[in-house]
C-alpha cells in the first residue's frame, strides 16, 4: 500500500497490515514508534548503547506479537512503552547488582546519587537530571519520565505501568518532590542563579 495512504492509519491497523505482509506498514510504525521508544529508554538508562538495545528489543517483540495482536485491548504505543519499562527495569537492576558486587572490593562506599551530586560542577544539566532520576525508585522514575518528559496522561501511564490512576498521581507527585529535593542544592550547577 502506498505510503501516503497509510499516513493517517492508526498504529493498530498498521500492525495488522504488517501481519498481513505489508512492508510499508513496518517502515511507518518504526518511524512513528522508534524515536519515542528510544527517547524513553534513553532517559531511563542514560546510556545510548543500552537504550538502543532496549528499543530494538522492544520493537522486535512488537513484530513477533503482530500476528497475535488483539485489537481493542491496548494501544500499540502503550504496549511498547510497557515492554521498554520492563526491559529498562531489568537492566537497571542488573546494573545495580554489578555495582554492588564491584563495591564489595572497594573500601570506600559510594552512593550513586551522592557521587553524581559530588561531580555536579563538571556535569551538565541533563546529566544532573539523569543522576537524580536514577536515584528514584523504579516506579517513581518511570512515572515521572512518562508524565513530565514523554508528556503522557495519567490514564495512559496507569495502563503502561498497570496500576491505578491514583497510584500514578501519587508516584509522579512523590517523584517530583524527591527530584526537587535532590536538585535543590545544585541550582548553580544546573544553570540557575541562587538569587532567583
Amino acid at each position: 500500500m502506498p505510503r501516503d495512504s497509510l499516513a493517517e492509519v492508526p498504529d493498530e491497523a498498521l500492525l495488522v497490515l504488517y501481519a498481513n505482509g505489508d512492508p510499508e506498514a513496518a517502515r511507518l510504525l518504526t518511524t512513528r514508534l522508534l524515536p519515542r521508544v528510544l527517547g524513553y529508554a534513553g532517559r531511563l538508562l542514560a546510556d545510548r548503547t543500552e537504550a538502543e538495545d532496549v528499543a530494538q528489543e522492544a520493537m522486535l517483540r512488537l513484530w513477533r506479537q503482530a500476528s497475535e495482536w488483539r485489537q481493542g485491548e491496548a494501544k500499540v504505543s502503550t504496549w511498547v512503552y510497557r515492554v521498554v519499562s520492563n526491559l529498562c527495569t531489568d537492566r537497571l537492576r542488573a546494573r545495580q547488582r554489578r555495582r554492588s558486587d564491584a563495591l564489595d572490593d572497594v573500601p570506600e562506599p559510594a552512593d550513586g546519587a551522592a557521587s553524581a551530586v559530588a561531580g555536579m560542577i563538571e556535569a551538565d544539566r541533563m546529566a544532573a537530571l539523569d543522576a537524580a532520576l536514577a536515584s528514584l525508585p523504579d516506579r517513581q522514575r518511570e512515572a515521572v519520565v512518562l508524565r513530565h518528559i514523554e508528556g503522557m496522561s495519567n490514564p495512559e501511564i496507569a495502563e503502561i505501568l498497570q496500576i491505578g490512576v491514583e497510584a500514578v498521581e501519587s508516584l509522579t507527585a512523590r517523584g517530583k518532590r524527591a527530584l526537587a529535593a535532590i536538585l535543590s542544592g545544585q541550582r548553580a550547577a544546573l544553570g540557575y542563579e541562587e538569587a532567583e
Binding site: 504488517y18 505482509g21 522486535l60 518528559i149 526537587a180 532567583e196
Partner: protein, 111 residues
Amino acid sequence: MMDDLDDLFASAKRDAMQPSAALMARVLADATREQPKAALRVVPKPGFWAGLATLFGGGGVLAGVGSAAVAGLVLGFVQPVGFGSVTDLLAADTLGGVEFMPGIDALLAEE
C-alpha cells in the same frame, strides 16, 4: 525549585535521543525477518481448469458450454418419447417431397 524542574523537564524533552540510521536499519531488518510468512501474498500458478476457463472467456461460459454438451449427449443416447416422434416425423417418406427451401422455378414458370 518546581519551576526550575519543569524547565529541566522541557530541556530533557528537547534533548531526547534520536534514532540513528543504523538503528533504524536494524529495526527494519528485524521487521522484515519476523514478518509472518503465511500471510505474505502468494500468486498461485494457474492450473489446467483455470487456463481452460480463461480460454473460453471465464468459468461461467465454460460451465454453460459444458452443460450444453452434456445435455446433447444425454438426449442423443436416451432419446425421450417426445423427441422420437419428432425425429420419426422428420424421417418420414411423406416429407421427402417437402421443400423447406423452395426455389423460384414456379414463379418463373407463371411468367
